[in-house]
Symmetry: C2
Subunit: 232 residues, 2 copies
Protein backbone atom coordinates (compact mmCIF):
# COMPACT_ATOMS: atom_id res chain seq x y z
CA UNK A 1 0.00 0.00 0.00
CA UNK A 2 1.25 3.50 -0.82
CA UNK A 3 2.03 5.83 2.10
CA UNK A 4 -1.26 7.24 3.39
CA UNK A 5 -1.70 11.01 3.31
CA UNK A 6 -2.36 12.68 6.71
CA UNK A 7 -6.11 12.89 7.20
CA UNK A 8 -6.84 11.07 3.93
CA UNK A 9 -10.53 10.25 3.34
CA UNK A 10 -10.88 6.50 2.94
CA UNK A 11 -13.73 4.31 1.77
CA UNK A 12 -14.64 2.06 4.66
CA UNK A 13 -17.95 0.85 6.10
CA UNK A 14 -18.33 1.61 9.80
CA UNK A 15 -20.98 0.33 12.20
CA UNK A 16 -22.76 3.60 12.93
CA UNK A 17 -25.13 1.99 15.46
CA UNK A 18 -22.08 1.12 17.56
CA UNK A 19 -21.51 4.83 18.18
CA UNK A 20 -23.58 5.56 21.33
CA UNK A 21 -24.70 9.05 20.18
CA UNK A 22 -26.13 7.56 16.95
CA UNK A 23 -27.38 4.23 18.32
CA UNK A 24 -31.04 5.23 18.63
CA UNK A 25 -31.51 7.17 15.39
CA UNK A 26 -34.58 6.35 13.28
CA UNK A 27 -33.88 4.50 10.00
CA UNK A 28 -34.63 7.70 8.10
CA UNK A 29 -32.12 9.73 10.14
CA UNK A 30 -29.55 6.94 9.71
CA UNK A 31 -29.83 7.07 5.91
CA UNK A 32 -29.08 10.81 5.99
CA UNK A 33 -26.13 10.37 8.37
CA UNK A 34 -24.68 7.51 6.30
CA UNK A 35 -24.86 9.68 3.17
CA UNK A 36 -23.10 12.63 4.82
CA UNK A 37 -20.48 11.03 7.05
CA UNK A 38 -16.83 10.74 5.89
CA UNK A 39 -14.12 8.53 7.37
CA UNK A 40 -10.50 9.63 7.61
CA UNK A 41 -7.30 7.90 8.63
CA UNK A 42 -4.58 9.65 10.66
CA UNK A 43 -1.13 8.38 11.64
CA UNK A 44 0.21 8.45 15.19
CA UNK A 45 1.10 12.04 16.24
CA UNK A 46 -1.07 13.62 13.51
CA UNK A 47 -3.10 16.65 14.62
CA UNK A 48 -6.76 15.75 14.01
CA UNK A 49 -8.21 19.04 15.32
CA UNK A 50 -6.28 22.29 15.58
CA UNK A 51 -7.10 24.83 18.30
CA UNK A 52 -8.39 27.99 16.57
CA UNK A 53 -9.61 26.26 13.38
CA UNK A 54 -13.27 26.58 12.31
CA UNK A 55 -15.80 24.05 13.62
CA UNK A 56 -17.18 22.65 10.38
CA UNK A 57 -17.93 19.11 11.58
CA UNK A 58 -18.75 16.88 14.54
CA UNK A 59 -16.18 14.09 14.92
CA UNK A 60 -16.35 10.49 16.14
CA UNK A 61 -13.37 8.34 17.09
CA UNK A 62 -13.96 4.97 15.34
CA UNK A 63 -10.65 3.22 16.02
CA UNK A 64 -7.49 4.02 17.99
CA UNK A 65 -6.82 6.59 20.72
CA UNK A 66 -6.80 10.39 20.74
CA UNK A 67 -5.67 12.97 23.28
CA UNK A 68 -7.28 16.37 23.81
CA UNK A 69 -4.48 18.91 24.35
CA UNK A 70 -4.70 22.54 25.42
CA UNK A 71 -2.02 25.17 25.15
CA UNK A 72 -2.00 27.65 28.05
CA UNK A 73 -1.50 31.43 27.71
CA UNK A 74 2.17 31.01 28.58
CA UNK A 75 2.73 28.19 26.10
CA UNK A 76 2.60 25.06 28.28
CA UNK A 77 0.87 22.06 26.64
CA UNK A 78 -1.64 20.31 28.89
CA UNK A 79 -2.93 16.83 28.05
CA UNK A 80 -6.58 17.27 29.09
CA UNK A 81 -8.19 13.88 28.46
CA UNK A 82 -8.03 10.72 26.35
CA UNK A 83 -10.76 9.72 23.88
CA UNK A 84 -11.76 6.09 23.25
CA UNK A 85 -13.55 4.47 20.26
CA UNK A 86 -17.23 5.49 20.19
CA UNK A 87 -16.56 8.95 21.70
CA UNK A 88 -17.59 12.10 19.86
CA UNK A 89 -15.67 15.38 20.01
CA UNK A 90 -15.62 18.91 18.59
CA UNK A 91 -19.26 19.50 19.62
CA UNK A 92 -18.75 22.94 21.24
CA UNK A 93 -17.49 24.69 18.09
CA UNK A 94 -20.25 22.96 16.07
CA UNK A 95 -23.01 24.18 18.40
CA UNK A 96 -21.73 27.73 18.87
CA UNK A 97 -20.15 28.30 15.48
CA UNK A 98 -16.91 29.26 17.23
CA UNK A 99 -13.27 28.23 16.79
CA UNK A 100 -11.97 24.90 18.14
CA UNK A 101 -11.06 25.50 21.78
CA UNK A 102 -8.45 22.74 22.07
CA UNK A 103 -6.33 20.55 19.81
CA UNK A 104 -6.77 16.79 19.40
CA UNK A 105 -3.75 14.61 18.62
CA UNK A 106 -3.56 10.92 17.60
CA UNK A 107 -1.62 8.82 20.12
CA UNK A 108 -2.03 5.71 17.89
CA UNK A 109 -3.04 5.36 14.22
CA UNK A 110 -6.76 6.29 14.17
CA UNK A 111 -9.95 6.18 12.11
CA UNK A 112 -12.15 9.25 12.58
CA UNK A 113 -15.68 9.85 11.19
CA UNK A 114 -16.73 13.41 10.34
CA UNK A 115 -20.36 14.55 10.21
CA UNK A 116 -20.94 17.96 8.54
CA UNK A 117 -22.06 20.73 10.92
CA UNK A 118 -25.53 21.22 9.35
CA UNK A 119 -26.43 17.52 9.66
CA UNK A 120 -25.12 17.40 13.24
CA UNK A 121 -27.08 20.52 14.26
CA UNK A 122 -30.28 19.11 12.79
CA UNK A 123 -29.88 15.89 14.80
CA UNK A 124 -29.09 17.87 17.98
CA UNK A 125 -32.45 19.64 17.90
CA UNK A 126 -34.69 17.11 16.12
CA UNK A 127 -33.65 13.68 17.39
CA UNK A 128 -34.85 13.31 21.01
CA UNK A 129 -32.23 10.64 21.80
CA UNK A 130 -29.38 12.76 20.43
CA UNK A 131 -30.66 15.94 22.15
CA UNK A 132 -30.96 14.03 25.39
CA UNK A 133 -27.47 12.50 25.26
CA UNK A 134 -25.87 15.77 24.18
CA UNK A 135 -27.54 17.75 26.99
CA UNK A 136 -26.48 15.17 29.58
CA UNK A 137 -22.95 15.22 28.23
CA UNK A 138 -22.70 19.02 28.34
CA UNK A 139 -24.39 19.32 31.73
CA UNK A 140 -21.93 16.77 33.18
CA UNK A 141 -19.08 18.79 31.65
CA UNK A 142 -20.36 22.03 33.21
CA UNK A 143 -20.66 20.29 36.58
CA UNK A 144 -17.14 18.85 36.31
CA UNK A 145 -15.77 22.27 35.38
CA UNK A 146 -17.41 23.83 38.40
CA UNK A 147 -15.97 21.11 40.67
CA UNK A 148 -12.62 21.67 39.04
CA UNK A 149 -12.85 25.41 39.71
CA UNK A 150 -13.65 24.68 43.35
CA UNK A 151 -10.58 22.43 43.42
CA UNK A 152 -8.31 25.18 42.08
CA UNK A 153 -9.39 27.45 44.91
CA UNK A 154 -7.95 25.05 47.52
CA UNK A 155 -4.81 26.69 48.91
CA UNK A 156 -3.10 23.52 50.24
CA UNK A 157 -1.27 21.81 47.35
CA UNK A 158 -1.39 18.23 48.67
CA UNK A 159 -5.15 18.60 49.31
CA UNK A 160 -5.52 19.88 45.73
CA UNK A 161 -3.90 16.67 44.46
CA UNK A 162 -6.10 14.45 46.68
CA UNK A 163 -9.19 16.31 45.40
CA UNK A 164 -7.98 15.96 41.81
CA UNK A 165 -7.84 12.16 42.23
CA UNK A 166 -11.31 12.22 43.79
CA UNK A 167 -12.59 14.19 40.79
CA UNK A 168 -11.14 11.99 38.01
CA UNK A 169 -11.65 8.56 39.60
CA UNK A 170 -14.29 6.17 38.22
CA UNK A 171 -15.94 3.00 39.50
CA UNK A 172 -14.78 0.05 37.32
CA UNK A 173 -15.97 -3.43 38.29
CA UNK A 174 -15.27 -3.61 42.01
CA UNK A 175 -12.55 -0.99 42.08
CA UNK A 176 -12.13 2.76 42.10
CA UNK A 177 -9.59 3.59 39.40
CA UNK A 178 -8.17 6.50 37.43
CA UNK A 179 -7.90 5.37 33.79
CA UNK A 180 -5.13 6.88 31.65
CA UNK A 181 -3.70 9.02 34.45
CA UNK A 182 -2.13 12.11 32.83
CA UNK A 183 1.63 12.55 33.27
CA UNK A 184 2.80 14.13 36.52
CA UNK A 185 3.78 17.21 34.50
CA UNK A 186 0.26 17.42 32.96
CA UNK A 187 -1.37 17.09 36.39
CA UNK A 188 0.97 19.78 37.72
CA UNK A 189 0.03 22.13 34.86
CA UNK A 190 -3.69 21.46 35.32
CA UNK A 191 -3.77 22.22 39.03
CA UNK A 192 -1.09 24.91 39.28
CA UNK A 193 1.71 23.13 41.05
CA UNK A 194 5.12 21.60 40.19
CA UNK A 195 5.83 18.13 38.76
CA UNK A 196 8.02 17.40 41.80
CA UNK A 197 5.14 18.06 44.19
CA UNK A 198 2.82 15.74 42.24
CA UNK A 199 5.44 12.95 42.17
CA UNK A 200 6.21 13.35 45.87
CA UNK A 201 2.52 13.38 46.90
CA UNK A 202 1.61 10.30 44.79
CA UNK A 203 4.65 8.44 46.15
CA UNK A 204 3.57 9.22 49.70
CA UNK A 205 0.02 7.96 48.96
CA UNK A 206 1.53 4.76 47.51
CA UNK A 207 3.73 4.24 50.57
CA UNK A 208 0.67 4.68 52.82
CA UNK A 209 -1.09 1.93 50.83
CA UNK A 210 -3.84 4.34 49.66
CA UNK A 211 -3.13 4.07 45.91
CA UNK A 212 -1.19 1.66 43.68
CA UNK A 213 -0.06 1.66 40.06
CA UNK A 214 -1.82 -0.76 37.66
CA UNK A 215 -1.45 -1.17 33.87
CA UNK A 216 -2.43 2.18 32.27
CA UNK A 217 -4.37 3.02 35.42
CA UNK A 218 -4.06 4.08 39.02
CA UNK A 219 -5.96 1.93 41.53
CA UNK A 220 -7.38 3.58 44.61
CA UNK A 221 -6.84 0.82 47.16
CA UNK A 222 -8.29 2.73 50.14
CA UNK A 223 -11.00 5.13 48.86
CA UNK A 224 -12.13 6.08 52.38
CA UNK A 225 -8.63 7.19 53.37
CA UNK A 226 -8.29 9.29 50.19
CA UNK A 227 -11.67 10.94 50.73
CA UNK A 228 -10.74 11.72 54.33
CA UNK A 229 -7.48 13.36 53.22
CA UNK A 230 -9.28 15.42 50.54
CA UNK A 231 -11.89 16.68 53.01
CA UNK A 232 -9.71 17.15 56.09
Amino acid sequence: MAAMQAGATIDVQIHLRKIPLLSELTDEEMVKVRADIRVRHYAKRDVVLQKGATGDSLLFLVQGQLQVVDITEDGRAIGLRMLAPGDFFGEIAVINGTMRSASVVATTPVLVALLPRATALHLFSHSPSVANQMLRFLAAKVQRDSEFRALLSIHNTAKRIYSFLELVKEQKDDEEVVENLPTHQDIANMINTSRETVTRTLLSLTQQGIIKKGTHRLIIVDPDALQKLAQS
Copy 2:
Protein backbone atom coordinates in the same frame (compact mmCIF):
# COMPACT_ATOMS: atom_id res chain seq x y z
CA MET B 1 -51.93 42.39 52.71
CA ALA B 2 -50.71 39.86 55.28
CA ALA B 3 -46.97 39.17 55.51
CA MET B 4 -46.03 36.84 52.67
CA GLN B 5 -44.47 33.49 53.56
CA ALA B 6 -40.96 32.80 52.12
CA GLY B 7 -41.34 31.02 48.80
CA ALA B 8 -45.15 31.16 48.95
CA THR B 9 -46.94 29.92 45.81
CA ILE B 10 -49.10 32.73 44.46
CA ASP B 11 -51.79 32.87 41.84
CA VAL B 12 -50.59 35.20 39.14
CA GLN B 13 -50.74 35.12 35.34
CA ILE B 14 -47.35 35.50 33.71
CA HIS B 15 -46.54 36.08 30.04
CA LEU B 16 -44.84 32.77 29.28
CA ARG B 17 -44.01 33.81 25.70
CA LYS B 18 -41.88 36.63 27.13
CA ILE B 19 -39.48 34.00 28.53
CA PRO B 20 -36.97 33.44 25.68
CA LEU B 21 -36.60 29.69 26.32
CA LEU B 22 -40.39 29.23 25.97
CA SER B 23 -41.08 31.83 23.30
CA GLU B 24 -41.24 29.40 20.36
CA LEU B 25 -43.22 26.56 21.93
CA THR B 26 -46.14 25.11 19.96
CA ASP B 27 -49.62 25.93 21.32
CA GLU B 28 -49.94 22.33 22.50
CA GLU B 29 -46.62 22.48 24.43
CA MET B 30 -47.68 25.84 25.89
CA VAL B 31 -50.93 24.39 27.28
CA LYS B 32 -48.94 21.68 29.09
CA VAL B 33 -46.40 24.18 30.46
CA ARG B 34 -49.15 26.55 31.64
CA ALA B 35 -50.84 23.69 33.49
CA ASP B 36 -47.64 22.58 35.24
CA ILE B 37 -45.84 25.83 36.04
CA ARG B 38 -46.06 27.40 39.51
CA VAL B 39 -45.17 30.96 40.51
CA ARG B 40 -43.58 31.82 43.86
CA HIS B 41 -42.72 35.05 45.59
CA TYR B 42 -39.53 35.52 47.62
CA ALA B 43 -38.46 38.49 49.72
CA LYS B 44 -35.06 40.18 49.41
CA ARG B 45 -32.29 37.96 50.89
CA ASP B 46 -34.42 34.76 50.69
CA VAL B 47 -32.55 31.68 49.46
CA VAL B 48 -34.40 30.53 46.30
CA LEU B 49 -32.10 27.55 45.58
CA GLN B 50 -29.90 25.83 48.15
CA LYS B 51 -26.62 24.21 47.11
CA GLY B 52 -26.92 20.47 47.74
CA ALA B 53 -30.74 20.32 47.48
CA THR B 54 -32.40 18.00 44.91
CA GLY B 55 -33.06 19.35 41.42
CA ASP B 56 -36.82 18.82 41.13
CA SER B 57 -37.60 21.80 38.88
CA LEU B 58 -36.33 24.19 36.24
CA LEU B 59 -36.68 27.80 37.38
CA PHE B 60 -37.34 31.09 35.58
CA LEU B 61 -36.82 34.55 37.02
CA VAL B 62 -40.00 36.50 36.19
CA GLN B 63 -39.43 39.71 38.17
CA GLY B 64 -36.61 41.15 40.29
CA GLN B 65 -32.93 40.20 40.54
CA LEU B 66 -31.15 37.07 41.76
CA GLN B 67 -27.51 36.29 42.48
CA VAL B 68 -25.87 32.88 41.98
CA VAL B 69 -23.56 32.25 44.93
CA ASP B 70 -21.02 29.48 45.45
CA ILE B 71 -19.40 28.46 48.71
CA THR B 72 -15.78 27.29 48.31
CA GLU B 73 -14.24 24.27 50.09
CA ASP B 74 -12.79 26.59 52.72
CA GLY B 75 -16.07 28.42 53.32
CA ARG B 76 -15.66 31.64 51.29
CA ALA B 77 -18.86 32.83 49.56
CA ILE B 78 -18.36 33.82 45.92
CA GLY B 79 -20.99 35.85 44.06
CA LEU B 80 -20.79 34.14 40.65
CA ARG B 81 -23.30 36.00 38.47
CA MET B 82 -26.52 38.00 38.48
CA LEU B 83 -29.76 36.79 36.86
CA ALA B 84 -32.22 39.13 35.12
CA PRO B 85 -35.95 38.69 34.32
CA GLY B 86 -36.42 36.10 31.54
CA ASP B 87 -33.37 34.03 32.58
CA PHE B 88 -33.73 30.35 33.49
CA PHE B 89 -31.60 28.59 36.11
CA GLY B 90 -31.17 25.24 37.86
CA GLU B 91 -30.89 23.38 34.52
CA ILE B 92 -27.81 21.29 35.37
CA ALA B 93 -29.37 19.42 38.31
CA VAL B 94 -32.56 18.93 36.26
CA ILE B 95 -30.68 17.38 33.32
CA ASN B 96 -28.33 15.19 35.34
CA GLY B 97 -30.57 14.38 38.29
CA THR B 98 -27.86 15.65 40.62
CA MET B 99 -27.82 18.05 43.57
CA ARG B 100 -27.90 21.85 43.06
CA SER B 101 -24.29 22.93 42.51
CA ALA B 102 -24.69 26.52 43.72
CA SER B 103 -27.12 28.60 45.78
CA VAL B 104 -29.33 31.36 44.38
CA VAL B 105 -30.26 34.33 46.59
CA ALA B 106 -32.80 37.13 46.01
CA THR B 107 -31.15 40.57 45.94
CA THR B 108 -34.59 42.24 45.52
CA PRO B 109 -38.14 40.91 46.07
CA VAL B 110 -38.64 38.40 43.23
CA LEU B 111 -41.22 36.36 41.34
CA VAL B 112 -39.93 32.92 40.25
CA ALA B 113 -41.70 30.37 38.02
CA LEU B 114 -41.03 26.66 38.60
CA LEU B 115 -41.49 23.99 35.92
CA PRO B 116 -41.48 20.37 37.21
CA ARG B 117 -38.43 18.31 36.14
CA ALA B 118 -40.38 15.80 34.01
CA THR B 119 -42.06 18.54 31.93
CA ALA B 120 -38.76 20.38 31.51
CA LEU B 121 -36.89 17.21 30.42
CA HIS B 122 -39.59 16.43 27.86
CA LEU B 123 -39.27 19.92 26.34
CA PHE B 124 -35.45 19.64 26.30
CA SER B 125 -35.52 16.58 24.05
CA HIS B 126 -38.77 17.08 22.07
CA SER B 127 -39.01 20.82 21.36
CA PRO B 128 -36.41 21.71 18.69
CA SER B 129 -36.33 25.38 19.73
CA VAL B 130 -35.81 24.52 23.42
CA ALA B 131 -33.18 21.84 22.63
CA ASN B 132 -31.39 24.30 20.41
CA GLN B 133 -31.36 27.16 22.94
CA MET B 134 -30.37 24.86 25.80
CA LEU B 135 -27.46 23.34 23.83
CA ARG B 136 -26.19 26.78 22.84
CA PHE B 137 -26.46 27.95 26.43
CA LEU B 138 -24.53 24.96 27.81
CA ALA B 139 -21.91 25.01 25.04
CA ALA B 140 -21.26 28.70 25.74
CA LYS B 141 -20.94 27.87 29.43
CA VAL B 142 -18.41 25.09 28.72
CA GLN B 143 -16.42 27.46 26.53
CA ARG B 144 -16.44 30.19 29.16
CA ASP B 145 -15.34 27.70 31.82
CA SER B 146 -12.44 26.61 29.67
CA GLU B 147 -11.40 30.23 29.08
CA PHE B 148 -11.71 30.81 32.80
CA ARG B 149 -9.48 27.81 33.51
CA ALA B 150 -6.90 29.17 31.09
CA LEU B 151 -7.12 32.48 32.97
CA LEU B 152 -6.46 30.83 36.34
CA SER B 153 -3.26 29.30 34.98
CA ILE B 154 -1.77 32.79 34.38
CA HIS B 155 0.93 33.30 37.02
CA ASN B 156 1.05 37.11 36.93
CA THR B 157 -1.75 38.50 39.13
CA ALA B 158 -2.27 41.82 37.32
CA LYS B 159 -2.46 39.99 33.98
CA ARG B 160 -5.05 37.65 35.54
CA ILE B 161 -7.19 40.67 36.42
CA TYR B 162 -6.83 42.20 32.92
CA SER B 163 -7.82 38.84 31.39
CA PHE B 164 -10.78 38.57 33.77
CA LEU B 165 -12.11 41.93 32.51
CA GLU B 166 -11.57 40.75 28.91
CA LEU B 167 -13.58 37.60 29.69
CA VAL B 168 -16.59 39.24 31.36
CA LYS B 169 -16.92 42.35 29.18
CA GLU B 170 -19.82 42.71 26.72
CA GLN B 171 -20.55 44.96 23.77
CA LYS B 172 -23.47 47.27 24.71
CA ASP B 173 -24.49 49.92 22.17
CA ASP B 174 -21.22 51.56 21.21
CA GLU B 175 -19.32 50.66 24.35
CA GLU B 176 -17.51 47.71 25.90
CA VAL B 177 -18.83 47.36 29.44
CA VAL B 178 -18.87 44.98 32.40
CA GLU B 179 -22.44 44.91 33.74
CA ASN B 180 -22.94 44.24 37.47
CA LEU B 181 -19.24 44.02 38.24
CA PRO B 182 -18.83 41.68 41.23
CA THR B 183 -17.33 43.19 44.41
CA HIS B 184 -13.54 43.40 44.58
CA GLN B 185 -13.63 40.67 47.22
CA ASP B 186 -15.71 38.39 44.93
CA ILE B 187 -13.33 38.98 42.02
CA ALA B 188 -10.39 38.24 44.34
CA ASN B 189 -11.99 34.96 45.45
CA MET B 190 -12.81 33.94 41.87
CA ILE B 191 -9.31 34.42 40.53
CA ASN B 192 -7.20 33.50 43.57
CA THR B 193 -5.83 36.82 44.69
CA SER B 194 -6.44 39.40 47.45
CA ARG B 195 -9.06 42.15 47.52
CA GLU B 196 -6.27 44.71 47.93
CA THR B 197 -4.62 43.58 44.68
CA VAL B 198 -7.92 43.84 42.78
CA THR B 199 -8.60 47.33 44.16
CA ARG B 200 -5.04 48.52 43.42
CA THR B 201 -5.05 47.11 39.86
CA LEU B 202 -8.48 48.60 38.97
CA LEU B 203 -7.41 51.97 40.42
CA SER B 204 -4.28 51.93 38.29
CA LEU B 205 -6.35 51.11 35.16
CA THR B 206 -8.66 54.02 36.02
CA GLN B 207 -5.74 56.43 36.48
CA GLN B 208 -4.35 55.35 33.09
CA GLY B 209 -7.74 56.19 31.51
CA ILE B 210 -8.31 52.59 30.41
CA ILE B 211 -11.48 51.96 32.47
CA LYS B 212 -14.02 54.17 34.25
CA LYS B 213 -16.85 53.53 36.68
CA GLY B 214 -20.43 54.00 35.42
CA THR B 215 -23.78 53.34 37.15
CA HIS B 216 -23.87 49.61 38.01
CA ARG B 217 -21.25 49.00 35.34
CA LEU B 218 -17.62 49.37 34.47
CA ILE B 219 -16.89 51.07 31.15
CA ILE B 220 -13.84 50.02 29.18
CA VAL B 221 -12.76 53.33 27.72
CA ASP B 222 -9.69 52.02 25.89
CA PRO B 223 -10.36 48.39 24.86
CA ASP B 224 -7.17 48.16 22.77
CA ALA B 225 -4.98 49.15 25.71
CA LEU B 226 -6.68 46.57 27.95
CA GLN B 227 -6.27 43.83 25.37
CA LYS B 228 -2.61 44.71 24.95
CA LEU B 229 -2.05 44.52 28.72
CA ALA B 230 -3.83 41.13 28.93
CA GLN B 231 -1.77 39.66 26.11
CA SER B 232 1.60 41.21 26.84
